[in-house]
Every structure is written in C-alpha cells, then in structure tokens.
Amino acid sequence: MGDRRRSRRLAAVLAVTGLAFATAACGAGSDSAGGDPNTLEVWTRSNPDAAATYERVFAAFTKKTGIKIDYQPVINFDQQLQSRASTKDLPDVMINDTALMGSYQSQGLLKAIAPDSIVGHDQITAKSWSSTVGIDGKHYGVPYSRQAQTLMIRKDWLRKLGLEAPTTWQEMLSVAKAFATRDPDGDGKADTYGMVVPGSAQNGYAAWWGSSFLWQGGAKIVEPDGRGTYRPAMDSAAAVHTVTWMKDNLFCGDNAVTQPGALTAITSTATNFQDGNAGMYMTGPYNITTFDQTLGKDKYEVVPAPAGPAGGDVLADGENVYFGAKTGKTKQEQALAAFLISPEGQKIAMTGENQPVVRIPVNSTLDAATVRDDARWSVVQKAYEDASQQFPNAPDFAPIKQDTADSLNAIFTYCGGDVGSQLKELNETLAGDLKDQDLLK
C-alpha cells in the first residue's frame, strides 16, 4: 500500500513537471513571432467596413516604405487592450478615440511623442496638436482624424410636408412632431418617428450623444481652471435648464418624437434613420457612406445642428495615432504616423466605397469637401472648425463620461424626479472621479 501511494505521487510530480515545460514552450513561441523589427502590429477599433479602408491605407504604406503591417481590427478594443497591458506586451500602434488618451496615459500605456519627430507635423494645426497634450504637458498622440456631430435629416419628408430644416431647438421639436404625426412616408400608418436618440447609459452613450445639447445650452460637464485641475460643472443653472429641456421634450413628453427603445439604444441598435422610419439623427459624418447606401443620397441631407440658447456647438471628437509603451520600434512607428498624416495617407482613408476612417483631415492642406467632391462635408468641416467642443482629453474621461451617462439615463427614465437635486448628486460623483485622479480643483 505504501509503495503504491509513493509511485502515484511520483507520477503526479512528473505530470505537473511536463505541464510546466509545455506551458513554457507555449510562451516562448509567441515571443519570437512578435519580435520582427520590420513589422508593426497595428490595432484599430473598427467594424469590417471601416477595416477594409484601413487595409488599403496600410497596403499603400507597406508599398512605399517596405515596413510590413500586422493589422488587427479589434471591436472589443478596451477589453483586449487590458489583456495585452497585463502581459506588458502592447501593440506597436493603436488608432482610437481622442477621448481615450487620458485613460491610456493614466495607465502608462503610451509613449510620449515630440511633434517635431513626425515628418509633416507642421501641416497639422496647433489646435489639433493641442488636443493630444496629456496631464504632464507632453504630447501622447498624433492627430489623425477629426469629426463633428451634424444633423442628418430627411429632405424628402421636409419637402412633402412643406417644412424647412430646423435651425433652433424649438424648430427641431416642431419638425420632429410633424415627422411623427403627419405621415411623411405616405403609407397611411403611424409608424414614423421624429428623431433617433441613442440614450442608453451603456458605455456612456447618453453622455456622448447628449453632450451637444449640453454645449448648446451653455453647460459643461467639467471645467478646467487653467492650472491643470478641474471642477465638476453639472450643477450649473445652464446644465439644469438643458437637462430639464431634454427630459421634458425628448424623453418624457410626446414619445413619438424619439424612436422606440431610446433609453436602451446604443448606436449599433438605433438604426431607425437608415431603416427609413425616423426623420432626423444627430450623429457623426462617418455614417454618410452608410446612409448613402441604405437610404439613398437623394433622400436626406446634412445640416448644422440646430442652435440652443448658447449657440450651435456640437461634440467634436476623432481619432489619434497612439504608440504603445516600450515596444522598441519608435522609428517605424514614427514612419507610419508620418504616412498616416500625409496628404497621400489621408486621402486614401477619406475616399473609396467603404466607410471613411479619416473624416475631417487633420492635414490642413486638405479640404474634406474638395477631396471627396461632396459639398456635404463642408457642413461637417465648418461645424468642426467654428462650432464644436471636445471632451477634455487629458483626464481619464472614461469614468466621468460613464457617471454622467448613468445620471442622465436615470433622469430621463424616472420622469418625475427633480433634475436639480439629481444633477447636484452627479456633481458630487464627478468630484469623486476627479479626486481619484488628483485633478480636483
């Protein structure tokens, strides 16, 4: 009996040792694959349509420089980035939202970038470069693409009902109600809606989409104080007034003004505009390609967002090129960034039959409408240049956006609550978020 137990123990030890060696072998394999100095691993957060555009851009880069690209269109970008971060082996280059820069920098995921080290840096405006400055005053991204929210509106419905595109909030409401109640598609059924609203709190959509209204109402989410710190600003009179207006008119009033399911809709599920049953959608210009294909160019137009009490500002955002920390391929990364911001690189990304990944070019020698021969892009570019505000990029804005979205979604869901006290509560939450980052004024 003793002999048998001892031999089993020995067998177990051998098995575990074998497992350990096998595991080590697996680990060794992946190291050698990632080490090629002439290949860059590049991630973008793209659906298949946008990824097809990136493929053409990277093919042109490889043809020009000889540097190969291992391209990964990653949809679940943040989860997979965290996985790679935990193994301290980041992709060489990442192209993702400008609003995520603070989040990535706060985790040490990015290399600092000297603008002078990028060939062609002088063709990017100072305004664009200023959007990639981190908390410590250094640059952490290369501007790549910018965009501004604009209003997509059914011009065939406007014509049929004898209406003009709205230029103020009140006019927008009137048009939305007309779209909802006057049968603009002529099918005899009450199956049309005024506008599309992605109002879910999931991933911060309510704050992302609703921020244009906040800007137009004169509100801010957080306010910089000029010394590198911020204070929460969602308890201002302008914020209370704006959120109350949104609640009363978009979510808690006549429900036909917005599409069904607005409170749990995210952009991928809020397809009513392209499905042809909603009349307006304030969204990014990357959808122009999609809507041309699904709805038809002749049916809708792109107009500036209607103005609120404080003006017509919309949310501006875009993508930056980020370099992964400690990749050891700085020269190759700089070469890719230089190509991406060059007139050639930007043009390839702006045109073609797939979704454009450069919307408004950061290269100031290019004009969005001219490159595309499409006047609608002038509306977008003008909105970006003249009437837009970004989320602050330097802080880790992710928790701030998420908490704001949670609060807005709750206000819009429970219509009877007092907006002022709920926003005061949000302000305290935002103060906690800023304090966690040592950014509270």
């Binding site: 965290q82 935990s86 709190a201 749990t264 920390a325």
Partner: protein
C-alpha cells in the same frame, strides 16, 4: 531447496514494483491535456485575478499595493449594492422559474413515442443556442411598438404596446423571462432522467389506492426525483449569480441601472472605467459567494438524503 525458494520471491517482488509504476503513470498521461487546459485557462487566470484585486492595476507604471481598498470601495459603492440586489432577484426568480418550467416540460414530454422525441429535441434547442443570439432575438420580440412580436399578440387582446425593456419596473422581469426560457430545457433533460428512474410499481400501487393526480405527484413523483432536483438546484446556485450575457445584450444594465447585475457591474468597472483592481475584487467576492452557496446547497441536499 533454499536457493529455489529465494529466487522466485526476488523475481516476484521486482515484477510487482514495475507493474505498480506503469499503472500509476498511465491515468495521469491521459489527464494531462485536460489538466493543461484547465491550468492555463482557468486556474492560473483565477489566481492572477485574486492577486490583482489587492492592487491599483497599472501594468506600465507599476501596480500599486492597496490591500483591501478595492474590496472596501467596491462593496460600499451604492451602484454595486443595487446590482447585488438585482442579481439576487434575477438569479432566484430565473432559477425557480426554470426549474418549475423544466419540471412541467419533463412531465409533458416524457415517454417513448417517436413524435415526443422530435418535440423534445426542438424544445431543447434554447440550451444549445448562443446566449448572445438569444438576447438579440428577444430584444426584437420585445420591440416596444405595436409592430413588436409580443406587442402584436397583446394588441390582439386589446392591450396597448408595453415597454418591456425601457420601463425600469419591467426590464428586470423581462430579462428574467428570457432567462427562464433559456434554462428550462436544460433542467427538463435532467429531471426527465430522474423521471425515467422512477419505479413503475409505485405508480401501479398508487393507482390501486385510487389517489388523485396531485397526490401522485406530491407523494410519488417528487420524492423519487429528489436526486435530479438536487443536481438542478446545485447548477442553479452556481449559475444564478453569474448572469452576464443575457443582461448585457438585452439591456446593457439599463434603463437607469435597473437591470445592472453583479457581472455587468464588474465588467463596467474593468473595461469602461479601467478599474481592473476593483473589477477583480468584485469577481473574487462573487467567486467566494458562489462557492459558499454551492457548499450550502450540497450540505442541505446531503442532509435531506440522510433523512
């Protein structure tokens, strides 16, 4: 004589030792691939997760030890507390509903007829369909206008369109209904196996005594399938608190956080707010609670068996 006796003994001892070694090693060799997979994809990540829950996770800046701060912060977060409440309601309701419906289906579909086999296969399909796909289908079924599948049916009875997912009072129950639909067929199969094992003579004896259908169910069927119910309850205890995909696809935790559950909250902490330490702490607490619940269910099951 002495030489003859010694030689066989020595030879026998040597042979026995060699046989033991070979026999002991073979099972481990067969188990090795499975153990390797479990080690790499389950136990190592689990250990790493526990380790990370004590840190402010910043891989490139150096993780900062925070001891139990992550646990304190997560457990005192009111949104997390709400999420625990929703998880308990959803988990309990979903489990009990799925067991009850599974039991009903098992009674209805038990038997040897060929047509029953086809129906059983069809009824089992939810158990083998990807949860994300089921979530998308149910979101379409719950569409909140009179065009929606379920609202069309309600409209037939004169009931106006119901906002299944946008009404915070209904969203959790709507999610529960989907969960019951997903898990009932799985429970049905286990309970059906239990029913197949019931001694037929017990039914014959009951029929002789003239008992009612309900009495037969109460005194013959239910006691007989207690082992199957025990298994089903154990699985429910493990699974009930770990709901994620159903909620994430259907509502994303909305509206107004009314369907936020433990796992969607941990997911938000980790990937939307980049708080990996907090997410790890939330997951570790869930692991401990699940283990405790499983042990408790097993304890009562065994005690019941003894009685």
């Amino acid at each position: 004589m002495t030489a003859t006796v010694t030689t066989p003994a020595a030879r026998g001892a040597f042979k026995a030792r060699k046989v033991f070694n070979k026999k002991a090693l073979v099972p481990w060799l067969f188990l090795a691939p499975g153990l390797l997979l479990a080690l790499v994809f389950k136990f190592w990540p689990m250990a790493k997760g526990v380790w990370l829950s004590f840190f402010d996770v910043r891989p490139f800046l150096g993780d900062r030890w925070t001891g139990l701060d992550n646990y304190t912060r997560v457990l005192t977060d009111h949104r997390f507390q709400d999420a625990i409440g929703h998880t308990l309601v959803l988990g309990i309701g979903q489990s009990l509903g799925a067991i009850f419906l599974g039991f009903v289906l098992a009674l209805l579909l038990e038997g040897q007829a060929r047509s029953l086999k086809i129906v059983r296969t069809a009824v089992f399909l939810p158990a083998v369909t990807a949860t994300a796909v089921v979530g998308e289908l149910w979101r379409l079924m719950y569409y909140p206008t009179s065009d929606g599948l379920i609202n069309s049916g309600l409209n037939f009875f004169g009931i106006g369109p119901v906002q299944f997912l946008d009404n915070p009072d209904l969203a959790l129950w709507s999610t529960m209904a989907m969960g019951i639909w997903i898990w009932a067929p799985y429970n049905m199969v286990i309970i059906m196996a239990g029913l197949a094992g019931v001694d037929r003579s017990l039914y014959e004896a009951a029929a002789m005594d003239g008992v009612s259908l309900w009495q037969r169910l109460r005194y013959v069927t239910l006691p007989a399938i207690r082992p199957a119910l025990g298994i089903v309850l154990t699985l429910a205890a493990i699974r009930g608190l770990r709901v994620f995909t159903e909620v994430y696809v259907l509502t994303g935790g909305g509206p107004a956080g009314s369907t936020e559950v433990w796992m969607t909250r941990a997911y938000t902490l980790g990937f939307t707010r980049n708080d990996i330490g907090g997410a790890s702490a939330a997951s570790v607490v869930l692991l401990c609670v699940t283990l405790l619940l499983t042990v408790t269910v097993n304890y009562f099951r065994k005690r019941g068996d003894v009685r």
